[in-house]
């Protein structure tokens, strides 16, 4: 009877313990075979993997473009790209990395795969919509790539008017591409919100939801609220170019600053789309590898929501020198300071979770440490930029470039790598090579700081962003930064090699719970079966209750059938609990 205490947990369901084997007879990938089954699948796990493949591909393209940019900056004058080509390359690099890689990265790939499993569901609420969103993503990507063939875009990823309304490059196909991608992002967000509200298994209250799910919830709210505004803005821009409607173009009586307001009303919240899911991953990793209950669960969960909401009120900090009124600048600066608070709370909570924990430094944990280090720098420099007087000096310099790379790459991309390593065994059933993974993480950390810390210095000295040439004094710093990108490239190549190798014949088979985790994804087989579980799980303890025996996490509804999250059948059965 000892284990039964608290196990009925007021659900009044007949519970039974289900011990799943490490490996299923037929996993989700074997359940339906062939290329057609993949392309028409509605299984969230396969869709997640297809997203993962597409995102990796675009990351590769975006990365190559970055190497080109840095190589051009080897010498102060023209090295091998002329000014126009340079403008096109940095625009493409930015647009690809933001709209095709970072925005969908964690939600659409890892979130798609794990969110339904973490809530014990068989799939997302609208599986066909999920597949549709993947194809919309591909369509949007095609449009964006088409713009390269037809003369590229040289406006920067921000598409500021009036230049974007008049330049001869193919702005229309690129903006239409981003417009379409927005719908894919909206559909993913919608699906996640409904899944989280309606498909949780019995016992999985909001307070027992893994923090990764909370972070995806907050992200989805932003996707729902901000993306439509971006869509209409880009629509107006397309109309500006085709019909010359004159809303943004001063030559036609319009107002270009209005465009900036519209754009940043989306794009500042969008930077949180690009970081909150990363926060979620870091919470999971730090709890699992410290084997401690996360410190301040509700603070972490709700600070994501706070960031999501406050994030809508700070867009003006991108426009301190655009001619908005001094009063608005002061107000935007003040609110920008506020948005740093919930972020700071999280950092303290993570560090407090590790305090006195039994920490094991496996690869995901290394990435979490790298994240803490880099993201803290990124966040602090964000606050310096939010300081009105300082930003007047630093705006449009390499300091800003360094800031957003510290948060986007040092934050989100590192968290993504952490999540990839955390869940790789679950997704593929194989374990990667730990030693090579550590080496790659070290190279990425080093290469990243070489590349971007240098840029804080360059920016503070006055090096403007988006220039293909510079004064001679800056050459050594620029060259150091360029060498950093080579180290980074080496690190990513190593990751690609050992991950692919793990899938091959010599790959090491992973067990179902290699890190001894407690949330639902660790309780099903590795890789999971088609509908995730062979029973309907019932959640009794929180996802970070590492002090409770794993047996108490393995309960499900006894009878064949299903459970509704607000099931209220009123009888309990102690014997079957102990079975």
């Amino acid at each position: 009877m000892s284990t039964s205490s608290g196990i009925n947990a007021d659900l009044g369901l007949k519970l039974k313990r289900f011990v799943t084997p490490d490996h299923p007879e037929v996993n989700y990938a074997q359940a339906e075979k062939g290329i057609k089954a993949w392309l028409t699948t509605v299984d969230h796990k396969k869709i997640g993997l297809m997203y993962l493949g597409a995102i990796a591909f675009f990351f590769f393209i975006g990365g190559l473009l970055a190497l080109l940019l840095r190589a051009e900056l080897w010498t102060p004058a023209k090295t091998f790209l002329d000014a126009d080509a340079y403008n096109q390359v940095f625009t493409l690099h930015g647009a690809i990395m933001i709209f095709l890689v970072l925005v969908p990265s964690v939600p659409a790939a890892l979130g798609n795969f794990f969110l339904p499993i973490m809530v014990g569901a068989k799939d997302v609420a609208f599986p066909r919509l999920n597949l549709l969103s993947f194809y919309i993503y591909l369509a949007g990507a095609t449009f964006s790539l088409y713009s390269i063939v037809t003369g590229a875009v040289d406006t920067g990823w921000t598409f500021y008017t009036p230049y974007s309304a008049t330049t001869g490059t193919s702005v229309v196909s690129m903006t239409l591409g981003v417009f379409i991608l927005g719908f894919s992002s909206i559909l993913t967000g919608l699906n996640f919100i409904v899944t989280l509200h309606k498909l949780r298994v019995p016992g999985l209250t909001w307070g027992k939801l893994p923090l990764f799910c909370w972070s995806l919830y907050a992200t989805s709210v932003i996707q729902i609220l901000a993306t439509p505004v971006l869509a209409i803005t880009l629509m107006l821009l397309v109309m500006e170019r085709t019909l010359k409607i004159g809303i943004f173009d001063p030559a036609l009586g319009g107002d270009p600053v209005l465009y900036q307001h519209f754009f940043w009303f989306y794009s500042h919240p969008a930077v949180y789309i690009m970081i909150l899911p990363g926060f979620g991953i870091i919470s999971e990793i730090i709890a699992i590898f410290s084997k401690r209950r996360i410190f301040g669960y509700w603070f972490i969960a709700l600070s994501s929501m706070a960031i999501a909401l406050i994030g809508f009120l700070v867009w003006g900090h991108h426009m301190f020198v655009s001619g908005q009124s001094t009063l608005s600048s002061i107000v935007f600066s003040l609110i920008t300071f506020f948005v740093g608070i919930p972020t700071g709370i999280k950092i303290f909570n993570w560090v407090a979770t590790m305090y006195k924990g039994s920490i094991s430094m496996r690869t995901p944990m290394w990435y979490a440490m790298i994240f803490l280090f880099l993201f803290t720098i990124g966040g602090f420099t964000g606050v310096t930029l939010g300081t009105l007087s300082v930003d007047v000096h630093l705006h449009d310099t390499y300091y800003v470039v360094a800031h957003f790379h510290y948060v986007m790459m040092g934050g989100m991309l590192i968290a993504f790598l952490g999540g990839l390593h955390l869940w790789w065994p679950k997704m593929t059933g194989r374990m990667y090579n730990e030693r090579w993974a550590n080496i790659a993480a070290f190279l990425i950390f080093t290469g990243f700081n070489m590349t971007f810390f240098t840029q804080f210095i360059l920016g503070a000295k006055g090096m403007p962003r988006r220039y293909y040439n510079y004064i001679d004094q800056f050459q050594s710093l620029h060259q150091f930064s360029t060498v950093g990108t080579w180290v980074l490239a080496l690190g990513f190549t190593i990751i690609l090699i050992y991950l692919l190798q793990s899938l091959g014949k010599k790959g090491v088979i992973a067990s179902k719970n290699p890190w001894n985790g407690r949330s639902l994804e660790w309780l099903t087989t590795t890789p999971p079966v088609l509908e995730n579980f062979t029973y309907t799980p019932v959640v009794i303890h929180g996802p970070y209750d590492f002090h409770k025996p794993i047996a108490e996490f393995e309960y499900g509804i006894e009878s064949h059938g299903h459970g509704h999250h607000d099931a209220s059948v009123h009888h309990s059965n102690e014997e079957s609990v102990n079975a």
Partner: protein, 216 residues
């Protein structure tokens, strides 16, 4: 409330527990979608408000070119169509296939009527040279930014018109499904959620009409 799997009916998709959960999810999903629609139009409303704050006299002058009578008729038509849409849900809930079909058809007819009236409004303006943006040649309004008012007018009513057309398609799809006998008192989710969409299209017009036509 029982969760007996034998009660699960054919329309319940594999990943839902029961039809109630499926219905809740569909409806909730639709509400979220409507929120995105509101924000989508919200961008245009923001542009409208900003330019109106900058050039109040432009709005008073330019709106005189809009035909209030036609606008008012269209408002009536859409409100009526929202009623028939609601009635079709009511009929489906009462297992009345025939009435469901009729109400859906009336709704489609109203939507068409709306588009026809809109067509006459647009062609009349084109005739006068009131085009969006650069093509604008009308000289009857003495204001340098007159074309911007009409750019906003065409963007807002045009986007709304596209939503009406999509609505026609959706309601037609409902009508075909209804003919096949897909709906009954236990399952009418598609009518319910398309209905929500249609009410939104209606409400947006109820905002557009006074904002564009009735400026004094």
């Amino acid at each position: 409330m029982s969760h007996n799997s034998s009660a699960v009916q054919s329309h319940v998709a594999h990943h839902f527990v029961d039809s109630e959960q499926q219905f809740d999810a569909a409806k909730f999903g639709m509400w979220i979608f409507l929120v995105t629609e509101i924000l989508f139009f919200g961008g245009l409303f923001a542009a409208y408000i900003i330019y109106r704050a900058w050039y109040p006299d432009l709005y008073t002058m330019a709106s005189t070119q809009l035909d209030t009578t036609m606008g008012a008729i269209n408002t009536g038509v859409l409100i009526f169509s929202s009623l028939t849409m609601a009635l079709s849900i009511w009929a489906a809930q009462h297992n009345d296939k025939k009435k469901t079909g009729i109400f859906l058809l009336v709704t489609i007819a109203c939507a068409f009527a709306f588009m026809v009236i809109k067509y006459f409004e647009y062609t009349h303006k084109f005739h006068l040279g009131i085009f969006p943006g650069e093509a604008y040649t009308f000289t009857g309004i003495d204001h340098p930014k007159a074309h911007i008012f009409f750019s906003i007018y065409y963007m807002m009513t045009g986007l709304h018109g596209i939503h009406v057309i999509i609505g026609i398609g959706l309601i037609f799809w409902l009508w075909m499904k209804n003919n096949k006998g897909s709906f009954n008192s236990a399952y009418y989710t598609p009518i319910e959620i398309v209905g929500l969409y249609w009410h939104l299209v209606d409400i947006i017009w109820i905002f557009l009409f006074p904002l564009l036509y009735l400026i004094d």
